[in-house]
C-alpha cells in the first residue's frame, strides 16, 4: 500500500471525521463505467483561442482514478481556461477532451464531474442548507445535506444566510458541493485561497478522501509549498503550453537543479572552507555550496575531511518552488 493519502504529520488524517460514504449516499452509486476506471480525464492536443491569440497550445493531460494532480502556472497561464474547457463552459478549437469517455458539457460528463470555482460565491439570500439542497436536486442525489455540512465544519451556520458567511465559510460550502454524489473527476480551482491554515489541513484531508474513493483530482494552485507534499503529480503551464508533467522526484531529476549545502564553520575557518570548496560566504560563519545531485557525496566527503573546522551542515534539495521557477521560465535567460 502506498502512503500518499497520509498527509504529512498525520494531523489532517487524524481528525475525527464521519465516514463520507455513509453520510453522502442513501442509495448505491452506479458502478463506474469502464472508461472511468481507466482514465476519468483524457485531454489530447487541446487548442483554445481567445480572438486571435492562442491561449492553450496542444495540451495533453491524463489523470488516473485516485490520482491527485497539481496544475501550476502564473496568472493567465491558462489554468482556469483549461478547467472551463473540461467543464464544457467554453468551446475549444482543436484537440479532444474526454471525461469518462464522454464529451465535455454532456449530461454524462457533468454528472461525473465536481467543480470548485476560484473564489466561489452563491446567492446571498439563500442559506447554506438551501443552496446545497438545490445542488443535490440538480445533481439528482439524495444526499444527507446536514451531515455533509457538518463534515465541512458548517454545522452551526447551515441555516444562516450565505450573505453573512465569511470567505472561508463560502469556500467550505463550495467544498461541500464538491462532495455531493461521489464524483469521478474533481476540478478544484485555487481551493485554499482565503482559508486559514487549519481550514487548509481540513481541505486536504477531504481531498485525500475524494482520491481514496477513486476520484481523479485536479488542483489548480499558486500555493506551491502546500501542493508539494499533497499531490501525486505536478503539471506546469506556461503561457498555455504544458512545460512539465511528472512526479516531484521526476521533475527534480529532469531539471538537474543543484543541491544546496550550507556549511557552518567553527571559529574563523569560514574563509578557508569557502576557498577549498569553491563555495560562497553568506555570513560571518557560513558557506553555501551549490552542487549537482550526483556530486553531492563527493562534496560531503571533502567537507568531512576538514575535520573540526566544520561545525554543522545543512543539506537542502531543490524544492518545488525552485522547480517551478525553473520550468515556468523565470530563471531561463
Amino acid at each position: 500500500m502506498d502512503n500518499r493519502n497520509v498527509p504529512p504529520g498525520g494531523t489532517a488524517g487524524q481528525r475525527p471525521t464521519a465516514p463520507l460514504g455513509r453520510a453522502l449516499h442513501a442509495h448505491p452509486a452506479a458502478g463506474p463505467s469502464p472508461q472511468c476506471s481507466k482514465s476519468p480525464l483524457q485531454i489530447r492536443a487541446l487548442d483554445k483561442f481567445r480572438g486571435k491569440t492562442q491561449v492553450l497550445h496542444g495540451i495533453d493531460l491524463d489523470i488516473a482514478p485516485g490520482e491527485r494532480l497539481a496544475l501550476l502556472g502564473h496568472n493567465g497561464a491558462g489554468k482556469s481556461t483549461l478547467i472551463k474547457a473540461v467543464l464544457g463552459l467554453i468551446r475549444h478549437e482543436g484537440g479532444s477532451i474526454r471525461i469518462c469517455g464522454a464529451a465535455p458539457g454532456s449530461a454524462a460528463a457533468r454528472a461525473a464531474t465536481a467543480f470548485l470555482p476560484e473564489a466561489v460565491s452563491f446567492h446571498p439570500a439563500l442559506t447554506g442548507h438551501e443552496q446545497l439542497a438545490l445542488f443535490a436536486r440538480l445533481a439528482g442525489e439524495k444526499a444527507d445535506i446536514g451531515a455533509l455540512l457538518e463534515r465541512v465544519g458548517l454545522g452551526e451556520a447551515m441555516h444562516r444566510r450565505i450573505g453573512a458567511y465569511s470567505k472561508g465559510m463560502r469556500q467550505r460550502l463550495g467544498l461541500a458541493q464538491v462532495l455531493l454524489g461521489r464524483p469521478k473527476l474533481a476540478l478544484l480551482d485555487e481551493p485554499t485561497s482565503g482559508l486559514d491554515p487549519i481550514s487548509r489541513q481540513d481541505l486536504y484531508a477531504i481531498i485525500n478522501e475524494l482520491a481514496e474513493q477513486g476520484a481523479a483530482v485536479l488542483i489548480a494552485s499558486h500555493a506551491l509549498t502546500e501542493v508539494e507534499a499533497r499531490t501525486d503529480r505536478i503539471a506546469i503551464l506556461r503561457k498555455g503550453v504544458k512545460v512539465a508533467d511528472d512526479t516531484l522526484a521526476g521533475l527534480s531529476a529532469q531539471a538537474g537543479l543543484p543541491v544546496r549545502l550550507r556549511v557552518q564553520a567553527s571559529g574563523a575557518e569560514a574563509d578557508r572552507i569557502a576557498v577549498e570548496t569553491g563555495g560562497r560566504r553568506i555570513n560571518g560563519a557560513s558557506v553555501e555550496i551549490l552542487c549537482r545531485p550526483q556530486d553531492k557525496m563527493e562534496e560531503l566527503r571533502k567537507i568531512v575531511a576538514m575535520g573540526d573546522a566544520v561545525a554543522d551542515i545543512d543539506m537542502v534539495p531543490p524544492r518545488l518552488e525552485d522547480l517551478y521557477r525553473h520550468y515556468s521560465g523565470e530563471d531561463r535567460k
Binding site: 472551463k84 467543464l87 463552459l89 467554453i90 449530461a107 457533468r110 454528472a111 464531474t113 467543480f115 470555482p117 473564489a119 466561489v120 460565491s121 452563491f122 446567492h123 439570500a125 439563500l126 438551501e130 443552496q131 438545490l134 445542488f135 436536486r137 440538480l138 445533481a139 439528482g140 444566510r161 463550495g174 458541493q177
Partner: protein, 273 residues
C-alpha cells in the same frame, strides 16, 4: 423538468427572502385600489357598474405596471449570477440552460400571479362591494388578471434575453428600462404620430391595427377591450379593436412569451461564464 422545479423552488425562496413578493403585491394593491376609487366617478354617465369602470382603469394601470415588475425581476436572472461568479458553478451541474431559465420563469411568474391576483382581486372586490358587479364585469376582471400574467411573462422572458446579452447586471437594468420605454410609451407615440400624418389613409385603415397588435402591451389592451363592450366603451378604444379579427390580440399575447423564451434561451446559450 425535475431540475427546473429545483431551480424554481430556490428562486421562490429568494423572492420571498428579499421581500420581492411582498413589495410587488403591495405595489399592485396600492395602485389598483387608488385607481378603482379615483376612476369611480363616471359610473353614472356611462351606465355601467363600478367594477367595469374599475377594470378599465386597472387595464391601463397593468399596461405600465406588469411589464415594469416583470423586467425588474427578469433583468438579474443571468447577469446577476454571472456578476456574482456563481453562474459557472451552476452551469457545471447537469441542468440544461433552457431548464435553468424555465425554472426561473416558473418562480417569477408565480410571484407575479400572486401579486396580480391579490392586487386586482382586492380592488375588484372593493369596487363590486360599493358599486355592484355583474357576470360580465366579473369575467372582465378574471380576463384582466390572466392577461396581465401573460403580459408579465412576455417581459420576464425579454428581461432574461437582455440579461444574457448584456455585459453585466447594471447594463441589463439600463437596457430593461429602455425596452420598457419603447414597448409601453414610445411605440404608441410613434403610431399616433403616423396616424396623424396619414390622416385617415391606407395606413390608418389597413396597416395600423396590425402594427399595433404586434406590440404585446397593445395586444393586452386590445384583448381586454375587445372582449368586453362596456370596458371598450369606458376606455374609448372601440375603434381599433373593431378593425381586427377577434383572434389577433390573443394570438399576439400568446406568441410573444413563447418566442421570447426561445430568444432568451438562444442568448443564454452564447454566454461563456
Amino acid at each position: 423538468m425535475r431540475r427546473a422545479f429545483a431551480i424554481a423552488r430556490a428562486e421562490m425562496l429568494i423572492l420571498r427572502r428579499n421581500r420581492w413578493l411582498v413589495m410587488a403585491t403591495l405595489i399592485m394593491l396600492a395602485f389598483s385600489l387608488a385607481l378603482s376609487f379615483a376612476g369611480s366617478a363616471p359610473t353614472g354617465t356611462l351606465g355601467v357598474d363600478m367594477l367595469t369602470v374599475s377594470v378599465a382603469s386597472m387595464t391601463t394601470l397593468s399596461v405600465y405596471l406588469a411589464p415594469l415588475l416583470a423586467l425588474m425581476m427578469g433583468f438579474d436572472a443571468v447577469a446577476g449570477d454571472r456578476d456574482r461568479g456563481s453562474l459557472a458553478l451552476l452551469l457545471a451541474y447537469p441542468a440544461g440552460r433552457a431548464e435553468i431559465l424555465l425554472g426561473k420563469l416558473m418562480a417569477h411568474l408565480a410571484a407575479l400571479a400572486v401579486a396580480m391576483c391579490i392586487g386586482f382581486g382586492a380592488a375588484g372586490a372593493v369596487a363590486a362591494w360599493f358599486g355592484g358587479a355583474g357576470a360580465e364585469s366579473l369575467m372582465a376582471l378574471g380576463r384582466l388578471v390572466l392577461t396581465s400574467i401573460l403580459l408579465g411573462a412576455v417581459f420576464l422572458v425579454l428581461g432574461y434575453a437582455l440579461s444574457a446579452l448584456s455585459s453585466g447586471a447594471t447594463a441589463a437594468a439600463g437596457l430593461s428600462a429602455g425596452v420598457w420605454l419603447v414597448f409601453v410609451v414610445l411605440y404608441d407615440l410613434g403610431l399616433l404620430g403616423a396616424v396623424v400624418m396619414d390622416s385617415g389613409g391606407v395606413f390608418t385603415q389597413k396597416i395600423f391595427p396590425w402594427v399595433m397588435v404586434a406590440n404585446p402591451a397593445d395586444a393586452f389592451r386590445l384583448w381586454n377591450v375587445a372582449a368586453s363592450e362596456s370596458v371598450a366603451l369606458s376606455s374609448g378604444m372601440a375603434g381599433a379593436a373593431s378593425a381586427l379579427p377577434a383572434w389577433a390580440a390573443p394570438l399576439s399575447l400568446l406568441l410573444w412569451p413563447a418566442l421570447g423564451f426561445l430568444l432568451a434561451c438562444a442568448a443564454f446559450r452564447r454566454v461563456e461564464p
